[in-house]
Each structure stands twice: as structure tokens, then as C-alpha cells.
């Protein structure tokens, strides 16, 4: 248990230290040391509790509860104030509704409910702890170099880096809190802290756009928070418990816990940026790239799906489950379509993140053994691969001055190492035999077995779109253009270290995933599901995948870039001027060639996809909650 406290408190202490110490040298050292310590502690936690399977900790402290309540009140007042200051009154209103409800509840009802276990560790939390502890700290490490460049690019603005690193480490602390809290009140507390960290980090640059987007994120997440508060109130008032595991136990024993489940799932959906709330995550892309990598792809949004996956035993074919399935499925489909129309790399990544989270949410909604297996695998692979891609885009942006995919033309010539990392990352997102595809395969099988034919259609069409938008980006990466100056020596060595580790990690977790599955995910599922059905992927197929991966890694190492053929210019209708970049036009003048990708605006215009998705998901949510409330009233 002390390791858990250490994981929550240590990043917090580091955060405070980083806020106070303002010199570059001190910050570099603290961030590096703290990252190593946090990563080591999360691995230690894994070793410590790995064999035990699931462990709950009796731990009671009135002081902590009051402390949390106090902090919540302070935060609510701050949001209220900021909302009025920036004329975003909705944020103030939401803060003014949810916190008083929470305080009233805690003082009147919550106070009398005995909480047996506030904290717990099981294999799912171990997975999350490892993601936060390793990927999270890698991203912090990367930020050291990145933020120096960032400050350099935003010359003349106030240096807010202490604030930045404070928020990053505070966020890590809160994330650790989320994944080990069994007490929903505690969970809610950490949940709100991540919302606030996200809010401040999105608004980091303090431009008008950044502030607007940060409030958009805040308001949407406060909606989710409101759902969370209502879930706590309902649970406390009607079921007399505030513990997640008891609620799940009740649900599995046959007590109907659909309403609180739906409310909690709603909170999860907002946090995971599912439609109709996906626009906050798109807006969040104005934040510095490590923020996008840490909060908006590999960890914070994973808190949303983590909650849904936690709830999955009580989801399935009930109103809450169907709601979650459909919201996830629609989001996967529409976000995948919308990604096709984007040329801004970060927006493509954002839509892809939303889409993949949709897939995880849908898996959680189905709630069968195989679906949850796929969901957890998706969480792991997505965290690694997507953070790699975000950080690659960040590095590319600082060195070529653009985050537009079209400007990454010939990146292979300019930054071969970075381009290779991006190729690995992109392939990792959608190609056999890499991780995301393996999980998607399992997800697909789970969808089919669930009997929800609509979901099957969604994954089938969504996958086709996924293939399209990733490959056209991949095409830009692999294009070999003549006369490109190599500029990759300008990249900070911290960035290389992190990018290299993440790339290696992307490949390695794919290689060892059968092991991961049988030692980490399957044992977790066995504690939850009594009847263990056959896995989505037979072990034979898993080993075939690993063998194929070995082949895919080996082939380039052996044969890539080796040729003894004569190298000739490309064909340009006989008018190539010899450098492959210009041709002779009809007036005998040189004209440079410019190749652009397809965006298919007529089909997949971003706005249209969003409108359709939002309307569809709002209908699903409204219908689900009207049925549920109709049943209660």
C-alpha cells in the first residue's frame, strides 16, 4: 500500500518542486530523476502485487476525506471565478451545481456510509499504472527538450514552463489516484483534478483560441463530472455503497444497477471524448504536443475508457450497455471518416484517438470476456503507439516548421530517423501483424459474437476508412525525394532517447503480446468472468502474428535500401528536367512538381461527419436516459 501512496504523493511533491525551481538546469535534473523514480516505482508496484491478482486495502481516514472536500471546494471556486473572468458562464454554472451537490451529499448521506476499501490493486490497474508510469514519464522526459524549443519559438512570451511541468506531474499523481481508487468519491476527486490539468494545459499559450478551447474542454468534462456526481448520489442513496467493487458485485449478482452504471459510463464517455463530446479533444490540439501525447491520447482519455472497461461486467445487453456500445461504435465510424479529410497531422491523430477510444468503449459496452480482452489490449497498444506518433509530430513540427502532413513531403530525406519512427508508428496503428490490428481483430470477433450487427457494420466500414487515412500519410513518409538536406542533427537528445524507446516498445510489445495476454490480461479477466470462453485469437494465430512480425522486422534489416540497379529519373511524360522535382511546361519553362493527397471533402467533410455523429449519439444518449429515468420515476 505504501507504494501506492508513494506513486500518488511523489509526483505531487515533484510538481511542487518544479513550480518553485525556475532554472533550466534544476528542472532538467528533477524531471529526469523523478521520471526514473516514478517508472521504477510503478514497476516495483507491478512486482509487488503481480502474483496476488487483486488486492483491496482497508484504509480509513476522515482527514483525507475532509482534505479532499476542502480542495474540491477551492477548485470549484476557482473554476467559478475563471468562468466569470473569461465570460464562460456555463463553466461557472456547472461548477456551482456539481460541487454543492457533492458537498451536501458527503455531509448528509456519504458520511454515514461505511467504506471498507478505499484503495485496490488488480491487474487492470497494474496495466494502467505501467502505462502512466512508463509512457507518462517518457513523455515528461521528452518535454524537457521540446519545451526549450517551444519557448524558443514563442520568443518574447512569458516563460511559463514551471507551470507546465507542475501540471504534468500533478496530472501523473492524479492518474495514479484514478486507477487505484475503489472509493468512488476519491475516484471523483482525482477525476476532477485531471480535468483541471487538462484545462490549464490546453490554455497554456493563453491565445484566444487556446482559452476558448480550454473552456470547451472544461465545460464538457464538467458535464461528465456532473454525471459522476449524480452516479455517486444515486449509488449512495439507493444502494448504500460508494465502492466500485461492491457496485459491480451487486450488478453481477442480479441487482439492477443500470442507472448509476449509465451515469458513470456517461462520465467515461465525456472524458474519452466520445461523440457528442469529441470536439473538446480536437480543440485540445492547440496545446503543446507533449500535452496532447500525455493527456489527450495515452493517459487521461484512457481514464474514461478505463472506467467503462471497469464497468463492463455490468454492461452488455442492458440499456446502459447498449448506449455505450452505440456511442462507441458511432464515434469509431464517424471519427474514422472525419480523419480522412484532415491534413493537419495532430488533427488526424486526434480523430484517430477518438475513433480508437470509440472502439474501446464499444468493446467495454459489449462487456463479454473477449470484448474486454480486446479493449485492454487496445488500451495498451494505443497508449504506446499513439504517444510515439504525437511526439514524432511534435519533433517534426519544431524542425520543419509545420504540422501539416503535406509539408512532411520527403521527410525521409530530411530526417530519416524520425521518418522511420513515424513509419513504425503509423504501421503500428493499422497493419497486421502489429498491435492495434491484433486488438481490432479481437474486437471484431467480439462484435460479431455479441450479435450486434450494427456494430459489425460500423467496425467494417470504420476499418476501411482507417486504412485509407493512415496509408496516405504513410505514403508521404516513404516518398523519396531528391535533394533533401538532412536536418535531423538539430533534435534534442532527450527527444531521440524517448522516440527511440517508444519505437522499440511499439515493436517489442507486439512481439511479447501473447505473453502479456496470458500473464496479465487473461488472469484479470478470469477473476471477473466465471465462465472463461475461448479467446478471440487462438494461440496459433497469435504465434503466427509474432512470426510475421519477426519477418517484417527482419526483412528491412536485411534487404532495405540495397540495390545494384541503375537509378533513373521518374517518368513525367518526357518532360522531367532531370531532378525529379521540376518539369518543362508547355512554354518551355521549368515548373515544380507538387503532389497532394486525397482528402475526399465531398464524402468525408469534417463538419458533416461531426454533425451526423453528434446527432446520432445525442439521440442514443437521450433515448437511453429517458428510458432509464422513466423506469425510475
Amino acid at each position: 500500500m505504501s507504494t501506492i501512496f508513494f506513486l500518488i504523493l511523489f509526483p505531487f511533491v515533484v510538481a511542487l518542486a518544479l513550480l518553485v525551481l525556475k532554472t533550466d538546469a534544476a528542472r532538467d535534473i528533477i524531471v529526469k530523476v523523478a521520471s526514473i523514480v516514478i517508472a521504477a516505482a510503478s514497476i516495483y508496484l507491478t512486482v509487488q502485487y503481480f502474483s496476488s491478482g487483486g488486492k483491496y486495502f482497508e484504509f480509513e481516514s476522515e482527514t483525507i476525506s475532509y482534505l479532499m472536500m476542502g480542495i474540491e471546494v477551492c477548485l470549484a471556486i476557482m473554476i467559478f471565478y475563471l468562468g466569470i473572468k473569461y465570460k464562460k458562464y456555463l463553466a461557472s454554472v456547472l461548477a456551482a451545481i456539481q460541487t454543492p451537490i457533492m458537498i451536501w451529499f458527503e455531509l448528509s448521506i456519504g458520511h454515514h456510509i461505511h467504506i471498507a476499501n478505499n484503495l485496490y490493486v488488480d491487474r487492470l490497474s497494474i496495466v494502467m499504472v505501467l502505462i502512466i508510469g512508463i509512457i507518462g514519464t517518457l513523455i515528461c522526459w521528452y518535454s524537457i527538450g521540446y519545451m526549450k524549443d517551444f519557448q524558443h519559438h514563442h520568443h518574447g512570451e512569458a516563460d511559463r514552463r514551471p507551470w507546465f511541468f507542475f501540471l504534468m506531474f500533478l496530472f501523473l499523481a492524479a492518474m495514479f489516484g484514478i486507477v487505484v481508487s475503489n472509493n468512488l468519491v476519491w475516484l471523483y476527486f482525482f477525476w476532477e483534478i485531471t480535468t483541471l490539468c487538462s484545462f490549464f494545459l490546453i490554455g497554456y499559450t493563453k491565445t484566444k483560441e487556446a482559452i476558448n478551447n480550454s473552456f470547451k474542454a472544461l465545460i464538457m468534462n464538467l458535464f461528465g463530472g456532473l454525471g459522476f456526481v449524480l452516479a455517486i448520489v444515486v449509488l449512495g442513496k439507493f444502494y448504500g455503497t460508494l465502492e466500485l467493487n461492491q457496485m459491480l458485485a451487486m450488478g453481477m449478482m442480479g441487482v439492477s444497477v443500470v442507472l448509476p452504471t449509465a451515469l458513470l459510463a456517461f462520465a467515461g464517455i465525456t472524458k474519452a471524448a466520445q461523440m457528442p463530446f469529441n470536439s473538446w479533444l480536437l480543440g485540445a490540439m492547440v496545446a503543446p504536443t507533449p500535452t496532447s501525447a500525455l493527456l489527450h491520447s495515452s493517459t487521461m482519455v484512457k481514464a474514461g475508457v478505463f472506467l467503462v472497461v471497469k464497468l463492463s461486467p455490468v454492461l452488455g445487453w442492458n440499456i446502459a450497455g447498449i448506449m455505450v456500445m452505440l456511442v462507441g461504435g458511432i464515434t469509431f465510424l464517424m471519427a474514422s471518416f472525419a480523419a480522412i479529410s484532415q491534413s493537419n497531422a495532430k488533427r488526424v491523430l486526434a480523430y484517430s484517438t477518438v475513433a480508437n477510444l470509440g472502439l474501446i468503449v464499444a468493446c467495454g459496452g459489449i462487456g463479454t470476456y473477449a470484448a474486454v480482452w480486446a479493449a485492454i489490449m487496445l488500451i495498451i497498444f494505443h497508449a504506446v503507439t499513439k504517444s510515439l506518433l504525437f511526439l514524432c509530430v511534435g519533433t517534426a513540427e519544431h524542425n520543419i516548421g509545420s504540422r501539416d502532413i503535406e509539408d512532411m513531403d520527403g521527410l525521409f530525406g530530411r530526417m530519416p530517423k524520425l521518418a522511420t519512427f513515424m513509419i513504425v508508428g503509423i504501421s503500428g496503428m493499422f497493419l497486421a501483424p502489429l498491435g492495434m490490428l491484433i486488438s481490432k481483430w479481437a474486437a471484431m470477433k467480439a462484435f460479431i459474437d455479441s450479435g450486434n450487427v450494427l456494430l459489425v457494420m460500423m467496425i467494417v466500414f470504420g476499418s476501411a476508412a482507417t486504412l485509407f487515412y493512415w496509408t496516405k500519410w504513410l505514403g508521404k513518409m516513404v516518398a523519396i525525394m531528391a535533394k533533401r538536406e538532412n536536418i535531423q542533427q538539430n533534435v534534442h537528445k532527450e527527444e531521440w532517447l524517448v522516440l527511440t524507446s517508444l519505437t522499440v516498445l511499439t515493436v517489442v510489445i507486439c512481439l511479447v503480446f501473447p505473453v502479456m495476454s496470458s500473464f496479465l490480461v487473461v488472469p484479470y479477466l478470469e477473476t471477473i468472468y466465471q465462465s472463461v470462453a475461448a479467446l478471440a485469437l487462438s494461440s496459433g494465430n497469435m504465434y503466427i502474428m509474432s512470426a510475421m512480425l519477426a519477418l517484417v522486422v527482419l526483412l528491412p534489416l536485411l534487404f532495405y535500401g540495397k540495390t545494384n540497379k541503375r537509378i533513373v529519373p521518374i517518368y513525367m511524360a518526357g518532360a522531367n528536367l532531370g531532378d525529379d522535382l521540376t518539369f518543362r511546361n508547355s512554354m518551355q519553362q521549368p515548373t515544380s512538381v507538387s503532389l497532394r493527397n486525397w482528402y475526399m471533402e465531398d464524402y468525408f467533410a469534417e463538419k458533416r461527419m461531426n454533425i451526423i455523429g453528434v446527432i446520432a449519439t445525442v439521440v442514443v444518449l437521450v433515448a437511453a436516459f429517458s428510458i432509464l429515468l422513466g423506469g425510475v420515476l
Binding site: 497493419l431 496516405k472 505514403g475 516513404v478 523519396i480 540497379k565
Partner: protein, 290 residues
């Protein structure tokens, strides 16, 4: 299917598929010629072309293109091996996708305008047919309770009885996969002005030969999918299935010769509409009766 039959299946595929595929291509050209009132080339012409390509001067536009093309061949062959070893349908589809991506990437790597147009169109075609291919796999799974080809061909039911819609839908997108008009968008023989040779513009000599042989390997297991709709445990069903495969291929030739190349919009609209109508409705009925 046990290990021995798997190995025999793989060995037979490795040796016979290029021969059968090349022969099929030759017969295709002959029949096409006859449909157009021409005499046509010798049936062995595709093999002559193949060996001619091997004899040409080795040239390339960059150092990496050949690697990608080689990977295309390797993974097409691996896909076929999975198929004839009785493997998992989804595994086969995903490996096929990987192989196709290698071809697209090879075209992209040249940074040539015509190759790029071909590559983008190829991607579009993949997006167009992918849903229907996956729906086909789902259909087989719902009928047989297994994705394994070895289970499908030994099942007591004949899949076509339950999957008529999916079969028609698959034949529709097979036109794209076999690169036949009206959907020969990415590397048509006929679009000299706007495409040159699309995807394969920058491949010449041995590289082009690799692509030819990969297509022969590919066409054989594509027809294999058609075979699956008819083959089951009955002794005469393989005969029927082979006949249907040949009839399907003949139908594709007929379609090829009767249509001009259409716009890419029509390709994607039509394929998705077919997937949503024939595929989806067929799946709905399957879920309903099961």
C-alpha cells in the same frame, strides 16, 4: 485439417498457383480478344511477358522501391499459403491488406506523379472493397461457426445457401480486385493519357515481373474465396465449386469487355451501396435465423 494436408496445400499452392494464374491470365487475354472479334495472343503469352521482363535492363528510380515490391510478393504468397493451409479467414484478409499496402507504399516511394495517382486510387479501391470482404468473412463465420477455412470446406452446409447476397456482393467487388473494367482505376492498361500505368508506372523489368507473378498468386486465392461459397463436406461439391470459380472468372471477363472505365466516385459509391444492401441485409437475415 491436419499438418500434412496443410503442408501439401502450401506446397501445391507455391508450385501450381503461378502456373495456373499465368495460364488463367493467358486464357483471359484470349477470350477477351475473341469477344472483341480478334484472334488474340498465344495462351502462354503472360509467361512470355514474364520472361521478357526478366531479361530487361535492371533500372529503378530509388533504392527502396524494389524492397517494397518484393515484400508485396512475399506477403501475397504468405496470404495464399495461409489460405491453402486452411487458416483463419480474418488472418488471410489482414495479411492480404498488408501485402497490398506494400504495393501502394512502393508506388508512393517513387514520388512520381503518375504512380501517386495510381497509389491514391488503389487506396480508394481498397477502401471500397474492404467492407465487403470483411462482411464475407463474417458471413462464413455465422454459417460455419468458425473462421477457419479447413472448417468451412468440411462443413455439412453449403455456404451459398445462406450467403447468396454476400456472394453477389463479393463477385461485385471481385471486379475491383481482379482489376477489371469498369473499376480498373489504379493501373489500367488503357488509360495512357491520364494514368500512364498508374501504380506500376515506375516499375520496370524484373520489378514488373515480380508484380505480375504476385498477381497470379493473388488471383488464385481470390478465386479460392469463390470456391469457399460452394465447397463443403459433400464429395461432388469441389467439382461444383471449381466450375463456379471458372464461371465467375468468365463473368468477370465479360464484364471487363462490356464496360468502359468508370469514375472513382462510382467505384466507391457502388461498392459501399452493395456492401450495405446485399451484405448487410444478408447478415441481418443470418442473425435473425440463428
Amino acid at each position: 485439417m491436419n499438418l500434412a494436408t496443410s503442408i501439401i496445400g502450401i506446397a501445391a499452392y507455391l508450385i501450381l498457383a503461378p502456373l495456373a494464374g499465368g495460364l488463367l491470365a493467358g486464357i483471359d487475354r484470349k477470350i477477351s480478344a475473341r469477344m472483341q472479334g480478334r484472334f488474340g495472343p498465344p495462351v502462354l503469352q503472360p509467361f512470355y511477358d514474364f520472361f521478357k521482363l526478366l531479361e530487361k535492363e535492371p533500372i529503378t528510380v530509388n533504392k527502396v522501391q524494389d524492397f517494397y515490391v518484393m515484400c508485396f510478393l512475399i506477403f501475397i504468397v504468405i496470404t495464399g499459403c495461409f489460405f491453402f493451409a486452411g487458416g483463419d479467414l480474418l488472418l488471410i484478409i489482414f495479411t492480404l491488406t498488408l501485402a497490398s499496402i506494400f504495393l501502394v507504399v512502393a508506388a508512393f516511394s517513387s514520388n512520381s506523379p503518375y504512380a501517386q495517382i495510381g497509389a491514391e486510387r488503389e487506396l480508394l479501391q481498397m477502401m471500397a472493397y474492404e467492407p465487403m470482404v470483411l462482411i464475407m468473412a463474417v458471413g462464413f463465420y455465422l454459417v460455419n461457426g468458425s473462421f477457419n477455412i479447413s472448417d468451412i470446406v468440411t462443413s455439412p452446409v453449403m455456404a451459398i445457401q445462406y450467403l447468396p447476397g454476400i456472394f453477389l456482393g463479393f463477385v461485385f467487388i471481385l471486379t475491383i480486385k481482379l482489376r477489371k473494367s469498369p473499376f480498373d482505376l489504379s493501373m489500367s492498361h488503357h488509360a495512357h493519357q491520364e494514368l500512364v500505368k498508374g501504380l506500376t508506372t515506375e516499375f520496370s523489368g524484373k520489378t514488373m515481373a515480380v508484380i505480375e507473378i504476385a498477381h497470379w498468386y493473388e488471383n488464385i486465392f481470390l478465386l479460392g474465396f469463390v470456391y469457399l461459397f460452394f465447397a463443403n463436406a459433400l464429395a461432388w461439391s469441389p467439382v461444383l465449386a471449381v466450375v463456379v470459380c471458372l464461371a465467375t472468372y468468365f463473368l468477370e471477363i465479360l464484364i471487363d469487355n462490356n464496360y468502359a472505365r468508370m469514375k472513382w466516385q462510382i467505384a466507391i459509391n457502388a461498392s459501399w451501396i452493395v456492401a450495405i444492401t446485399l451484405g448487410f441485409v444478408n447478415l441481418l437475415i443470418l442473425y435473425f435465423i440463428s
